[in-house]
């Protein structure tokens, strides 16, 4: 069961959960999402909240609804690609902020980052 610990609205946390599953390939383009009721049971969250998360994902073009069939992930590679890039830049922003907070400047961050990647590559 997912823990909703932080202070974001739950529908946004559910959107983020689904987005990260899409980006990581756990759910593929064209796949059907769990029904509102099933996800509601799985996460122990009010069905209206799940419904809202699905609606917002649809508004963002990430999923689409087939009447009477269910909700499906878009097959548009561009959309999934840009979703991935958006998530990457959020992670990057957070990383830079955290590094600055512990007192490193951009040059030091850059140097460390490059060294780290070179070490990982080997």
């Amino acid at each position: 069961m997912m823990e909703f610990n932080n202070n974001l609205p739950i529908y946004i946390q559910i959107m983020n959960l689904i987005k990260s599953k899409i980006v990581s390939g756990e759910i593929n383009g064209g796949d059907k999402l769990s029904s509102v009721r099933d996800l509601s049971k799985e996460l122990k969250v009010n069905p209206n909240t799940i419904q809202r998360a699905y609606q917002e994902l649809e508004r963002e073009g990430i999923v689409f609804t087939q009447r009477g069939m269910g909700t499906y992930v878009t097959e548009d590679i561009q959309v999934i690609r840009s979703l991935k890039m958006n998530m990457a830049s959020e992670i990057m922003n957070k990383f830079i902020d955290d590094m600055k907070r512990i007192g490193l400047n951009m040059d030091e961050i850059k140097k460390m980052f490059i060294e780290w990647i070179e070490k990982e590559d080997r």
Binding site: F4, N7, P9, S40, L43, K44, V45, N46, P47, N48
Partner: protein, 232 residues
């Protein structure tokens, strides 16, 4: 959206104590509403008025457009915060009792709930643990095809496993055509299943909004808002 419950300027006094102080509240069809507040805040008094067990001192209460009476009692399914079954009964006797009392009692649904709760028709009421009691009571109440379910402290004092089963039963039985009012002080466990929350303090509504809007506005979950509001 249609209101299933409309409360206007409701006041309840017990001799010289004011239990509910000029409360107004609407509850929409298809919503799960949490009435949150510590002991003595007026939660149970409010529920007893909605279910026709107490009369208000002043103000108006309408359920499905009607004053509290025979009709409203027929469409409200109520889970009291204490046991309401006789000790000598078996679970099947309790089922028969509900079938006799309520025309909207759905035996098939009850059997399904019993299976889900891992209870058996032949169990004796006086052998049930506290958690099993609570699960049985909830099964009876949810097996009615009511327009409004009123659940008074459905998870108080039960272990975490029973608590999860109770929450699941509530979610499974939710449908868009009926509404639920749930009172609790165990906000952390319940908040994810609530559409709207009403904070009751000393007989007054001090905050009432959709749970998601509150999280969005205050950057806090409902449990933290609850602690902030009631620690003052």
């Amino acid at each position: 959206m249609k209101n299933i419950v409309e409360i206007n300027n409701l006041t309840k006094k017990y001799s010289n104590k004011i239990a509910l102080d000029n409360i107004s509240l609407n509850i929409e069809e298809g919503k799960v509403v949490g009435i949150l507040g510590p002991n003595g805040s007026g939660k149970t008094t409010l529920i007893k008025i909605l279910t026709g067990l107490l009369r208000q001192t002043s103000g108006e209460v309408l359920i499905d457009g009607q004053k509290i009476g025979i009709y409203t009692k027929s469409i409200v399914s109520y889970l009291p915060d204490r046991n309401f079954l006789y000790k000598w009964m078996k679970i099947k006797d309790a089922s028969d009792l509900f079938k006799d009392f309520y025309s909207d009692f759905d035996e098939g649904k009850f059997e399904e709930l019993l299976r889900f709760m891992k209870l058996d028709r032949d169990m004796r009421i006086d052998t049930l643990s506290k958690g099993m009691h609570e699960k049985l009571n909830l099964s009876l109440v949810l097996a009615r095809n009511a327009k409004l379910y009123v659940l008074d402290e459905p998870i108080a004092g039960v272990d975490p496993v029973a608590r999860d089963e109770i929450l699941n039963a509530i979610i499974n039985n939710y449908n868009e055509k009926s509404s639920m009012i749930i009172t609790t002080h165990l906000v952390r466990d319940m908040e994810n299943i609530l559409d709207d929350v009403v904070f009751l303090k000393d007989g007054k509504i001090i905050l009432s909004d959709s749970a998601e809007s509150l999280r969005e506005e205050r950057n806090m979950n409902i449990d933290d808002i609850y602690k902030e509001v009631f620690s003052q």
